[in-house]
Subunit: 139 residues, 3 copies
């Protein structure tokens, strides 16, 4: 068994869900991993990670609207605003989506379901370059 | 240390939370695991996994109502409907509940708290047979 | 590679988010871990774990209000009340926040982002002493 460490930089094209499946898959290929498990860890508090439908692109828009409605920008409970008026709402959405995710790997591929993709949830209005840590246990 | 792979098929009796603690425990027993950690990974986008109260069964009904209210079926932000009118709502609930879960194992048992159980969250109206991957690091 | 097991007791000072970063870091130092990954597992159904902003303390209050609004105490879907009138609401919030979390470790430190902290989400009105399991894969 071996323990491999890597990190990639990801930046959404715009606010919302941004698929990173291929980006992660390429890094796993570069690390030459056959079997094991990858844990993804996002080092941010205004963005998140999720697994969702990657086949029908309308899902992404529905999820974006859902997360915005769940924690809207103009809410009265948004006091944290030192770094921008959308910060508090993005902190809230980030707690719902989470920052840590483990995915099994087999035959060099992440064992995603047929319709699953890995997404960066960029909760901020202005996308930022994000650091995603990859930690792999390989056999 | 050893790395074990397995998968089980789970199907909820009806829409909502369906306890799978025993189902997972039996598979761990079959694999003869004493100590380590299991990671459960659900390969679907319209169902999720969660740990919740398994003792008082009224909790399950409260949680089902909560998740339905959080992402209702008839919402205006539900555009993804190619595979059924409840698809978009189920995608949203699946992002809230998540598909990946790690649980420590000791003396052959998952280290769940006294009141904790493992649940399949079947977000679709018509339950589907679901594939749950088990990956175990055992010592 | 080595597999280490530990547990700590954590108790929030009051209802809401309670930072436990230092508490966990001290335990990892005591275990003398340099590199690897820690999985935190909370054995409760009315509390959760999350990673969120630890720098600006107003975030904590915003998140507390957010979680309370998401699953309010007096809701009509709260039937589970055998152990207190806030139980059902706390079960709901616990499903949103989750109980399992994996964080990479390097040079003896959790690889948290600059603004990230680890929080116990104490969803109950009266804080309870909580058991947090630590499982570490170290290299």
């Amino acid at each position: 068994m071996e323990w491999l460490r890597s990190e990639i930089k990801v930046k959404a094209r715009h606010h919302g869900l941004h698929e990173i499946t291929e980006h992660v898959a390429e890094e796993l290929e570069r690390l030459d991993i056959t079997d094991g498990m990858v844990t993804l860890y996002l080092q941010h508090t205004t963005a998140g990670l999720c697994i969702s439908e990657s086949f029908d692109t309308s899902t992404v828009h529905d999820l974006e609207a859902f997360l915005e409605n769940l924690a809207p920008k103009g809410e009265s409970t948004n006091h944290h605003a030192a770094e921008g008026e959308d910060i508090s709402a993005t902190n809230k959405r980030a707690v719902v989506t989470g920052v840590s995710l483990s995915i099994p790997i087999e035959n060099g591929r992440m064992m995603l379901g047929t319709y699953q993709g890995v997404f960066l949830c960029e909760h901020r209005r202005q996308p930022i370059e994000r650091t995603l840590l990859l930690r792999v246990l390989t056999i």
